[in-house]
């Protein structure tokens, strides 16, 4: 029987997060956001609403942005997950989207920022040279209370430029 059952106890889940495989024993109801933050202590993923509207908890699941607060970790057995920590450059510094946010002043308190970084990273994979309207559309599923979005839209354009530049 291939039926995996979990009750009050825990279920074994294998997640590859930012390229590192983790085998975790988690209660079935553990949200992916909590598993990342409190079990793996990758606290870059933030929780802003826990009902899937604000986008602060957005991570990439097998390359596609999803709300980690709307996913049970147990359901993602075998998935590849990328968090904001995984959007850094190879040397641990700022990756291109992160660098663009810094250059464009696209963050203030920084709480929503990780969700934007992951969303934009995936967006630019699909659309490496967006127009400003496309850039705005791409970030229109994430809430930010500080910036008024003007500089976030600019950061999408700047990140696209940075990704096109040859790495020195």
């Amino acid at each position: 029987m291939s039926d995996v059952v979990s009750t009050g106890s825990t279920t074994r889940v294998s997640l590859t997060v930012n390229g590192v495989r983790h085998d975790l024993d988690l209660p079935a109801r553990r949200l992916l956001s909590d598993a990342l933050r409190h079990d793996l202590r990758l606290t870059g993923t933030h929780v802003g609403c826990e009902h899937g509207v604000c986008g602060a908890c957005t991570v990439l699941v097998d390359g596609a942005p999803m709300r980690s607060c709307l996913l049970f970790a147990v359901s993602l057995d075998g998935a590849e997950i990328t968090t904001v920590e995984g959007c850094r450059s190879a040397d641990g510094g700022m990756g291109p989207v992160q660098q663009a946010f810094h250059e464009c002043h696209a963050l203030q308190c920084g709480f929503c920022t990780p969700g934007f970084i992951t969303t934009i990273t995936a967006f630019l994979d699909d659309n490496p040279a967006p127009t400003r309207d496309e850039a705005r559309e791409a970030v229109s599923g994430n809430l930010c209370r500080c910036t008024g979005y003007v500089n976030i839209v600019s950061a999408v354009e700047r990140a696209a430029e940075l990704r096109r530049e040859p790495t020195p």
Binding site: G44, C49, E85, M94, L107, S140, N142, C144, G148
Partner: protein, 803 residues
């Protein structure tokens, strides 16, 4: 040559940490702490008859359940004051009936969301399991919801507050009623603004750790004032203040709601940590934030105004009703600000303002970015537009005719402001700002554009709104700066940061004042272990208050460095300068004798022990010394450091003007902002990039408050839209690009010439957008926010009235 940092769009030092996921917000702490959840009232007004926890007791992971009775018992046993009502933070003589809540309800709940039972468990999942199983019996009381119900006072929120009135306040200059009655033209307007909220992306949160061996308590809280939380927690827990420290981690936005303190949880979580001997944490979830933090903006206003044939104000009388919710811990700040700041850049003639602050069975009202000013601006600017419409005059012209002129500065409005000081405008050039705004938006050409659009079947309209904003409210802020022996400059200020880039902005000031490279400066805010005297971050005050404090502190450190270096360099203090962190003789250039500040720091601290290489130079046998002088000169202290405070006589007044172009859909009544133009004057700009970011964010909140955000209370006191699904904060798709021009009239009140910039962007949003919709539609707009559905119904009413 060191580049001057103040005035430059310096990239933020905060960013590399925050963008890579290395920020440290409240819930990033204490992964192993016990977690808290609350039983909160589902009813707006009720007596708590019984709390039955039986079913919760076998929840796996449950640690403790506390009710009000436990707090009372604790008071008897330990002398704590956790059971007593929370403090009334800002008393005022007219606040005759101030009532504040208890940390846990003491027998009566006055709004949906009020905490009744605290559950502590192994994690939040378990805590919520227990909460779900606790049964509370209520005896229902009549809920009072909305200003009208509160005024009618057929039922009372608090039995001992007659008429539901906490305060009635009047200010008057001249005889407004007589002036209005004598005026050639008169108008009366009823104007309303509905409730919104700060709604930071991170809710509140508290983590507390009691060290029993050290008898010390460390509290992390997502607050706008760590120093005052520290005092409040110590008082509540009956602990010596000396044993309590409060640290602000990274804070995911505040916008006002986190200046209120101590929140019930800021008292209860440390108390539980103390009693349980284990770290305890509470992370507010979004639903809790909606129903148990704070809202703002809800006010009804009645205006009487008299004016001459040119549209000049002769008399203005405003009466308004402020819905402050179930309790009033933050006092009358919001309505006082409305009542004074609604005057904006204008001379009102005789002015009378009266307000009542009313209890309702809804969430408390405390300042949200703008803090009463958006309402005041709405009242005044709608009045200006109404006068222009009445006289058939250009709306900009009417404003211009009422402006205070630059040569009238400083200008005394003759009222008392929110800080208890005179409402005295220190500087500003309102005609200059208006000229810039008209140029930026193309005001004079718009009529032609509007007609052209009409011909194409489109409806466009333009509106403008002006404001004056008292910023940099006292009483004081301070700074501490120490130069380490490696030349690092460590800066501390007591107020807190919620994303405004304070570390960057303050480092820019210190770099210039001290003459050190920006990169060598480290700034800490909101950590009482580092700086114990502060007020907090609100009222656009950090650049003014801590900026000035840090500037004067840097100057003191500089003087001390020069005194020490003058011995080492054998030169007079007045011949020395500090460039790039090196003290040198003026005019000798880079090749002359110099001593770096790290070395000065070594020399400043005479040592017995050579604990590292640098220290050797300061030990007692290292160099010949004057045997007749003490190693630390009289009046000096060891260390290259200083602490100074800045306390201004009164607020400094920033100002700005916004113009908006909207398009309304003739069929669907959908409303779209096409252009948003801002002219802004906050005095000297320390970091224009950060100032513009503040304006962008404020404008987005202004657009939200005008078109999307409102707290929808049902008559029974249920908040119908307590989620991000239904409380509509704008996404990028709803916010326009923002066009900004600056005017700089420095403040004469502080050493930097700065004025606050944090709240400005939000203030005129509702007023300007209402004006633009009115212009597009030809329909009078008297209440905001406005939705397409409401605009549609206004059109229907207008058609009926016209037919």
């Amino acid at each position: 040559m060191t580049t001057r940092m103040v005035g430059e769009p310096v990239k933020r030092v905060e960013d590399p940490r925050l963008v890579t996921g290395n920020g440290r917000y409240l819930d990033d702490l204490g992964h192993d702490a016990f977690e808290v959840a609350f039983v909160r009232s589902p009813h707006a007004h009720a007596r708590v008859v019984d709390v039955d926890v039986t079913d919760a007791l076998d929840v796996e992971g449950l640690v403790a359940i506390y009710t009000y009775e436990d707090l009372v018992a604790d008071e008897e046993e330990h002398g704590t004051r956790v059971a007593q009502a929370l403090p009334l933070l800002i008393p005022h003589p007219t606040l005759t009936h101030g009532r504040t809540q208890h940390a846990l309800a003491n027998g009566e709940v006055n709004h949906v969301g009020e905490a009744i039972v605290m559950v502590v468990a192994s994690d939040r999942y378990a805590a919520e399991d227990a909460v779900e199983r606790i049964r509370v019996d209520y005896e229902f009381l009549t809920p009072i919801v909305g200003v009208e119900a509160a005024r009618a006072a057929e039922h009372l929120v608090h039995d001992d507050v007659p008429g539901n009135v906490a305060a009635r306040m009047v200010q008057e200059t001249g005889d407004a009623d007589a002036a209005i009655d004598a005026a050639p033209h008169r108008l009366e307007l009823d104007l309303a603004i509905e409730r919104s909220a700060s709604m930071p992306m991170e809710g509140k949160g508290v983590h507390a750790r009691w060290d029993a061996d050290d008898e010390s308590l460390t509290v992390h809280t997502s607050t706008q004032t760590s120093t005052s939380v520290r005092q409040a927690v110590a008082a509540k827990l009956n602990l010596p203040v000396d044993r309590v420290e409060v640290v602000t981690p990274d804070v995911g936005g505040g916008f006002g709601v986190k200046i209120v303190h101590p929140w019930p949880e800021e008292v209860l979580v440390p108390w539980a940590a103390l009693r349980l001997g284990r770290p305890v944490k509470w992370t507010e979830d979004r639903r809790e934030h909606f129903v148990s933090s704070a809202h703002e903006r809800g006010q009804l206003h009645h205006v009487r105004v008299g004016y001459d044939d040119e549209g000049r104000l002769l008399g203005l009388s405003v009466k308004f009703w402020h819905d402050h919710g179930a309790y009033i811990p933050y006092g009358l700040i919001v309505p006082i600000i409305t009542s004074t700041q609604l005057l904006g850049p204008y001379k009102p003639g005789a002015y009378r303002v009266e307000f009542e602050s009313l209890y309702t069975n809804t969430v408390i009202v405390t300042p949200y970015r703008g803090a009463g000013r958006p309402q005041g601006c709405f009242v005044m600017e709608r009045t200006m537009d109404a006068i222009a419409a009445d006289l058939g005059l250009d709306r900009a012209l009417v404003r211009e005719r009422n402006f205070i002129q630059p040569d009238e500065m400083p200008y005394d409005q003759g009222l008392i402001f929110q800080d208890g000081r005179q409402l005295l405008y220190d500087s500003g050039d309102f005609p200059g700002s208006l000229a810039k705004l008209k140029e930026l938006v193309g005001w004079d050409d718009f009529a032609a554009y509007r007609e052209q659009a009409r011909a194409e079947g489109r409806r466009v309209g333009i509106g403008m709104a002006c404001y004056v904003e008292g910023t940099g409210v006292g009483p004081y802020e301070g700074g501490h700066i120490r130069v380490e022996t490696d030349g690092t400059v460590v800066v501390s200020t007591g107020l807190t940061t919620q994303g405004q880039g304070h570390q960057t902005m303050l480092a820019q000031i210190v770099a210039d004042e001290l003459g050190v490279p920006f990169e060598r400066i480290r700034v800490t805010t909101g950590d009482t272990r580092r700086f114990k005297y502060a007020v907090g971050t609100f009222a656009s005050r950090t650049a003014v208050m801590s900026g000035s404090a840090v500037a004067v502190t840097a100057r003191a450190v500089r003087e001390k460095a020069l005194r020490i270096a003058s011995d080492a360099l054998e030169a007079a203090v007045e011949d020395l300068e500090i460039v790039d962190g090196n003290v040198r003789v003026k005019g000798t250039g880079e090749n002359g004798a110099s001593v770096d500040l790290g070395a000065v720091a070594v020399l400043s601290n005479p040592l017995r022990y050579a604990f590292d290489e640098a220290a050797k130079r300061a030990t007692q046998f290292a160099a010949p010394a004057d045997p007749d002088k003490p190693p630390v000169a009289e009046g000096e202290s060891p260390g290259l450091e200083a602490s100074q405070f800045y306390s201004p006589p009164r607020s400094t007044f920033a100002n700005g003007m916004h113009a908006v172009v909207v398009e309304t859909d003739p069929d669907t009544a959908d409303i779209k902002v096409l252009r948003y133009c801002v002219v802004h004057d906050c005095g000297t700009l320390i970091n224009p990039m950060i100032v513009e970011g503040q304006i962008h964010g404020g404008v987005a909140q202004g657009v939200g408050g005008a078109l999307y955000e409102r707290m929808e209370y049902a008559p029974d006191g249920q908040l119908l839209n307590a989620s991000f699904m239904d409380f509509l904060m704008p996404y990028a798709s709803e916010v326009p690009e923002v066009e900004i021009d600056h005017l700089v009239t420095p403040s004469p009140l502080n050493p930097l010439g700065v004025k606050g910039a944090g709240e400005a962007g939000v203030i005129p949003g509702a007023a300007a957008i209402a004006a633009a919709i009115e212009d597009a539609e030809g329909i009078t707009i008297r209440r905001m926010p406005i939705s397409p559905s409401e605009l549609f119904h206004l059109r229907l009413e207008n058609q009926e009235a016209g037919s």
